[in-house]
Symmetry: C2
Subunit: 365 residues, 2 copies
Amino acid sequence: MPTALIHHRLTVDLKSQAYPILIGESLLQDDALLAQFIDGHQVMVVSQQPIASHYLHYLSASLKKYHVDHFIFKAGEQYKTVDQWEKLLVAMLRHKHDRSTTLIALGGGVVGDLTGFAAACFMRGINYLQIPTTLIAQVDAAVGGKTAVNHPLGKNLIGAFHHPKAVLIDVQTLSTLPPREFIAGLAEAIKYGLIMDEAFFAWIESNLQSILAKDAATLLTLIQRCLALKASLVSEDEKDMGRRSLLNFGHTFGHALEAHGEYKTLIHGEAVAIGMLMAAEVSHRLNHLSTAHLARIKKLIYHCGLGRWVGERPSADTLIAFMQQDKKNKQHKLVLILLQRLGEAYKAVDVPVDLLTRAIACVDL
Amino acid sequence: MPTALIHHRLTVDLKSQAYPILIGESLLQDDALLAQFIDGHQVMVVSQQPIASHYLHYLSASLKKYHVDHFIFKAGEQYKTVDQWEKLLVAMLRHKHDRSTTLIALGGGVVGDLTGFAAACFMRGINYLQIPTTLIAQVDAAVGGKTAVNHPLGKNLIGAFHHPKAVLIDVQTLSTLPPREFIAGLAEAIKYGLIMDEAFFAWIESNLQSILAKDAATLLTLIQRCLALKASLVSEDEKDMGRRSLLNFGHTFGHALEAHGEYKTLIHGEAVAIGMLMAAEVSHRLNHLSTAHLARIKKLIYHCGLGRWVGERPSADTLIAFMQQDKKNKQHKLVLILLQRLGEAYKAVDVPVDLLTRAIACVDL
C-alpha cells in the first residue's frame, strides 16, 4: 500500500549518477515506493537480528511481487568480515541471482557496509538500497557509498565506493533502537554542527530534550539537517580526496580508542564523542577554539550521556601510536581534522606531538 | 634509464577519468616512464611464475627509488580466487601499505584480474598499473577496468570495475610466451575484426605469417588496432551496459565450453575461437553472414591452429544448458552476440533453440 509519509527529500549528486534520500514514516510499508528503486524481478534482503524480527515482515509484505531471498545474521560487528561477505555472495549465486538483482540492506552500519560491499562486487556491481534502522546509519553510514568489511589489522580496510540506488530512512525504526545505540548516534549528528554548521549545533543544544525523547518531528529535522550537510560534502568529493575528509572529525582519535579496546568496550559513536572532545581540546590549545565554545561542546556531549570512558583508559602515548596506524594517514604522517572555530573544520598536518599528548591527557572522562 | 620506444599511444576516455595505453619496447626498463604513473613511495608488484623469473628484475631495477614489495604466486588460473585475493590484501596490510600505494600487475589475465580487484578493494580503492605479458591480456584483459576472481560456481563472478592508472604493453615480453598461449591470444584479436572492423580482419588474413613468426613491427600494429577498437567501446560504455557487450562475441559459447571442461581442457582463447565458429554458424543460419564470409572466418581460425577440440566434446544440449547459466543472461534469458555481417555484431535475444542446437552440432572441430 502506498502509505509513506515523506517529509524530506534530498539528492546526492555525483558525476556519474545521482540518488535520492527519502526521510519519513511508514516507508517500509509502501510497495509502490520501493518498486521505484527495484529494476529486476529478484531481491535479496540482508538484515541482522533483532532488526529482522522487528521489521522484515513489513518489507516482505511490500515486496510480494518480487522473488525475494533473505540473508539474516546475528547481531554484532564481528560479522563484518570477508568471510561473511563471501557467504552472502555465495548465497546469491546459489539462489541464482543475476546482474539485475537488487540487494536491500535493512539494518545498521554493519548490514549496510556488508551489503554495499557485496553489491559492489557481485558480478562487478549491482544495485542496492539502503534502509538504515539505527540513528548512526541514518545520519551517516547509509549515505555516501562507503562500503567495507573489517580485518583483524583494522576496521574498514577492505571495501569499495559503491553508491546505493536510494536511501530510505524510516524514523519509526528508531523506536526499537536500544538507548545506548541511539545516544551513540547523536555523536555523529553533533559532529555535523561542529565541523560545518554552528546554527545546527545551537539547534541541537536547544532541542536536546525532544531529541532524547525521540520526538518524531524533531528526529525528522535532525536527520534532514545532518544529511543535507553530508550530501553536499559527498556530492563535492565523492572519493574522499578533499573536503569530505572533514567528516573524520573525532574519528582518528575514535578509531584509536576503539582499536585499543579491541572493539569491545566503546561502540563507534561513543568513541567518536570522546575523540571529538580530544580534537576540540587540541583545537583550543592551538588557539582556534575559544574557551566558551570548548565549554559548550563539552556540555552538549556530556548532556547527551556521551564522553564517558568504559574500561581501562589508554595512555596518551599508546593512543597516539594507535592513531599513527590509521588508514587515513598517508605515509604514516598523522593527519587530524580540527576545528578552526565552532562550525568550521580544517585538516591539520604535523600537530606537535607534545601538544597532542597534553591535550589528550587533560580530557576529563 | 629512459630507454622505452613507444610506438603507439592510446587513451581510454571515461566520464570521471582518462588513462593512457602505451605500446612499445623496453618499457619495463624505463624508470622515468614508470615514475609518471606512481604517486606515492610504496609499490607492490604482483606476478606469477614463470613471468616473474623472466621480467621482474627489469622492473625492480627501474623501481629502485620506491619501497617495493612483491607478491609472487605459481602459474595457473586456479589461483584466481577470493582466497588468493585476500592473501594479497593481507600481505599489503602486513607490509604497511597505505592508500598512496601503487599495485603493479606484471603478468597475464590472472595476475591482472586479481591485482585489479585487490586495487579496487584495498582501503576502498588505490592506483594500479597493468603490465600485461600475454597476448590475450595485451589485446583485451588489461584494458577496460574489469577485475574479478573466480568462484566454483562460475568465472569472474566476484569482481569490480576499477580502471588502471595506465596500461604499459611491452611486446618484448611476448618472446617468452608459450606458443599455445600466443595462438590462443589471436582468437581475441580476430574477434575485433569480426565484430567491428572488416578491414582489420583482412589485415590479419594478409599478415598471418608475420604474426605467427612474432615479427615485432607486425605485433605492435596488431595490438594497436585491437586496443584502438577496445578503447573506443570502453570509453563509450564503461560499465558494459550497452555496446561494450559486443566484445562477448564467441564468449557465451566459450565460457560454456570452458565450464564443461572444468577449465582443464581448453584455455580461454581456444574456447573463444570455437565459440566464434559456433556464433558465426548461427549468424549464417539466420541469413546474416554469407557463405563466403563464413568460409573466410573458418579458414583464418583454422590457419591459426585454433578451432580444435580437446577432450570430450559436449552435446549441443549440454552446452546450451551451460550457456543459460552465464552471468550475462538477465533473468535466465539467453542473450547472444552474433554477426550482422563480417565486421558488424549485434545482440540477439531469443534465438530459436533448435536452430542453435543444429548450428552447434554442425561445427566441425
